[in-house]
């Protein structure tokens, strides 16, 4: 048995044996060491692909040699109106070490605009209904020189509630409306600078979603689309992607978009923290010392200090590809590189899936991972990171490790609080919530102004977070929150709770049987499980 267990089907997959080391798991802002049952399959992230040695040169090459499009310099003419749109702070995760890749792309593109006599240039963050970025975050993203030259008149966040700043492009043949940022729609050229961290990002989603309004978004950010997406992290099988694709066609009919996409490797942590993605069986003495130092430091710190510490650690992502030109063709090329980095072949589904929930999500940069975001990370992101078929069998058990604290950020997530405490106790039915309450939240004047003038997520955003977990919710038989520090948060989410992972596994086995196949996603991981029988 033991020898058989030691077999390696892929370099990122490890089976737990009698003498295997315990595994490090994230639990919110903390990390815990857990012994797993013998036979448990542990999936690690693939080793990072080596980054391109000169990313500025690669970007310059891409814009000068685009796919199915004239080179950027050939499209620029003096006196024309150009808008450069870019992804917001939700990408990449955690925020990358400076200079941010967007800064490098901007330096190349702005140089080219200037050299070709284009002065009317605006920089817009395509935040859609996400929170607007703060000035400090905006400065960090583009560097102080660009910030000084453009902020605030020509460098700003998209406002999905500014009626005068939006213009309707029409409807798709399926009746999906699209209203988009007026400055972009009326520009002679829109240059979109994208960072593709997961396969769901990029492509037509950049403009058609990042720069639209609530009415446009609700046509595809809805429960049935999510249920029909198998999964939304794999575009060919994603109903969400198909809808966005149709909207993208509408964009192409009305606007001239030059797309610059980049793919990153998965080098999330600097050397000091690389143990978090490493196979524990291969830890050196130095690695064990690093872990001990980290564990002891974290154990001495209160939660908020741990959170701050984690948010201060910039990611070490490197660019592995850059393509520019026509949106779809560019996106295809980038997806190929994404899959190369992320796809992990996995043989067989599991009955019990264990996944730690780290304090990393697109929606809690510099704030707390509230219960709704814990839900979206578990049943949304972690569940959907597959290609072909889910890693977890239908009606399987998902075990998540997180304290499930009842904490919300009042500035960033005000509408989440009402959604969680007022609506979820009434119903967890996504269709019911959409019908009865989504518009009420979306039109709440206070939430609208908090989104527009402050840094709050749009009033409708918590609904999208709930829908985001809908295909996971429909598929999973039971979710157990291991180490939840209270009973009411798991209860409101419709989950069971356990004091620790051992108890959670025992509960899951009582549900799925003693021979249940267990798999653990070694978080934090950006990986796409390609599951075969």
């Amino acid at each position: 048995m033991a020898l058989e267990l030691r077999r390696k089907t892929h370099e990122s997959i490890v089976y737990i044996d009698r003498d295997s080391a315990p595994r490090i798991m994230p639990k919110g802002e903390d990390f815990i060491l857990e012994d797993l049952p013998i036979g448990t399959r542990v999936i690690y992230p693939n080793p990072p692909i080596k980054g391109l040695p000169n990313r500025e040169a690669a970007i310059r090459y891409a814009v000068n040699n685009p796919i199915d499009s004239k080179p950027l310099y050939a499209q620029l003419e003096p006196g024309m109106k150009v808008t450069i749109a870019m992804d917001d702070i939700s990408l990449p995760l955690p925020p990358m070490a400076t200079p941010d890749l967007r800064q490098t792309m901007l330096e190349v593109v702005l140089d080219m605009c200037h050299a070709n006599g284009v002065d009317d240039v605006h920089l817009i963050i395509a935040n859609s209904l996400h929170r607007k970025m703060t000035e400090w975050e905006m400065k960090r993203m583009v560097g102080s020189t660009i910030h000084k030259a453009f902020y605030p008149d020509r460098y700003y966040n998209h406002d999905a509630e500014d009626d005068l700043g939006l213009v309707a492009l029409g409807e798709t043949r399926h009746g999906e409306p699209l209203r988009i940022n007026r400055r972009c729609a009326e520009s002679d050229l829109v240059i979109y600078l994208n960072i593709n961290l997961v396969p769901m990002d990029g492509g037509h989603k950049s403009v058609a979603v990042g720069l639209c309004d609530y009415e446009s978004l609700r046509a595809h950010h809805e429960p049935q689309t999510i249920i029909d997406s198998d999964s939304y992290m794999y575009p060919p099988d994603s109903a969400l992607n198909h809808k966005v694709h149709r909207l993208g066609k509408l964009v192409d009919e009305h606007m001239n978009v030059f797309h610059v996409e980049t793919a990153l490797n998965n080098k999330m942590f600097a050397d000091g923290y690389d143990i978090l993605t490493k196979n524990e069986d291969e830890f050196s003495f130095a690695d064990r010392m690093k872990w001990e130092a980290m564990r002891r430091t974290f154990s001495k710190l209160p939660r908020k200090a741990r959170r701050k510490l984690l948010h201060e650690i910039p990611a070490q992502y490197e660019m592995i590809a850059c393509f520019a030109g026509e949106t779809e063709k560019v996106h295809e090329k980038i997806l190929e590189r994404n899959y190369e980095q992320y796809v992990i072949p996995v043989k067989g589904q599991c009955d019990i899936l264990i996944t730690g929930i780290p304090d990393i999500s697109p929606y809690n940069v510099y704030s707390a991972l509230n219960p709704l975001l814990v839900q979206v990370m578990a049943l949304g992101y972690h569940f959907n990171m597959y290609k072909g078929k889910p890693l977890l069998k239908k009606d399987g058990v998902m075990i998540v490790t997180h304290p499930c604290f009842d904490e919300f950020d009042h500035n960033f997530h005000p509408s989440y609080i009402e959604f969680f405490h007022r609506l979820l106790p009434e119903s967890r039915d996504a269709f019911y919530l959409r019908e009865k309450y989504e518009r009420e939240f979306a039109e709440n004047p206070a939430y609208i102004e908090m989104y527009r003038r402050g840094n709050a997520y749009h009033g409708a955003h918590p609904f999208f977070m709930w829908y985001w977990g809908e295909n996971g919710r429909q598929h999973v038989g039971k979710v157990i929150a291991a180490g939840a520090e209270n009973a009411h948060v798991p209860d409101i989410l419709g989950w069971d709770r356990a004091d620790n992972l051992t108890e959670a596994i025992a509960m899951a086995r009582s549900y799925k049987g003693r021979n249940a196949e267990i798999t653990m996603l070694h978080q934090p991981i950006i990986g796409l499980a390609e599951v075969t029988d």
């Binding site: 206070a446 609208i448 102004e449 402050g454």
Partner: protein
């Protein structure tokens, strides 16, 4: 406003009686209040000025240089006392504060009210105020200002902002001159909430669907009686309270 068909959602329920000789159906019409309103405090919430700015404006417009000087210096000297009484109780503050208007003529107060609006109140409207009111109107909410400010100063501002109804404090006048007292009901603290409750009852307004906006902890009662309380540019105590109760906190500045 009274009862109106548009304001009220009607539910028809058929009750069936199947036992002979009572086999019949009765349609029972039930009405549920569905009209909502947005109740705003004014000063500090929609505009940056407070009662003292208005008093200061009138102090500067007394008859004769000596009168202006005397009133202006008197107002300045009272500032610390205004602060102390306001900290202690809004009702005590009102009693003390409005004494400063004693002797002012009704004609004069009304005559300068447009100037007060143009010079003091209009520039003090917060940047986000028109947008907030526009979004609220889009929902069909009745716009109501409930303020401790004086009625003659509030009217032009409400007209300008498109506010439908306002409830403000009124000075008592005898022979055309202010006595320094307020006519009841004095709009402050719990009285605002009482006025809102009575207004809602009278106009068939559903308070659970309504919004209240204020910047001050003294309006806690007014915020607490609606389904959607919002702390706007809140003072420290209100901000703490809003966070404890998970109320929305909005900055209109």
């Amino acid at each position: 406003m009274g009862w109106s068909y548009q304001n009220t959602r009607m539910f028809g329920i058929f009750l069936f009686f199947n036992q002979y000789p009572f086999r019949s159906a009765i349609l029972v019409i039930m009405t549920v209040k569905s009209q909502a309103a947005s109740f705003y405090d004014l000063e500090g919430t929609l505009v940056s000025t407070n009662l003292v700015h208005t008093l200061g404006f009138y102090a500067k417009r007394q008859q004769g240089l000596l009168g202006t000087l005397k009133k202006s210096v008197g107002t300045l000297a009272k500032l610390p006392m205004f602060g102390i009484t306001d900290l202690y109780s809004r009702n005590v503050f009102n009693e003390y504060f409005f004494q400063s208007y004693k002797g002012e003529s009704l004609d004069r107060l009304r005559y300068f009210s447009d100037e007060l609006f143009e010079e003091v109140l209009k520039p003090a409207i917060f940047e986000g105020t028109p947008d907030l009111i526009a979004k609220s109107k889009k929902l069909g909410h009745i716009q109501v200002v409930v303020t401790g400010a004086l009625d003659f100063s509030v009217k032009p501002l409400c007209d300008y902002l498109g506010i439908d109804v306002y409830a403000a404090n009124r000075l008592e006048f005898v022979n055309g001159y202010a006595t320094g007292r307020l006519l009841p009901p004095v709009m402050a603290s719990a009285t605002k909430a009482k006025w809102i409750r009575e207004y809602a009852e009278r106009e068939d307004i559903n308070l659970s669907n309504s919004y209240s906006y204020s910047d001050s902890i003294s309006d806690l009662a007014m915020l607490s009686i609606v389904g959607h309380p919002v702390a706007v540019n809140p003072d420290f105590r209100l901000k703490q309270t809003a966070m404890q109760h998970d109320w929305a906190i909005l900055d209109l500045k």
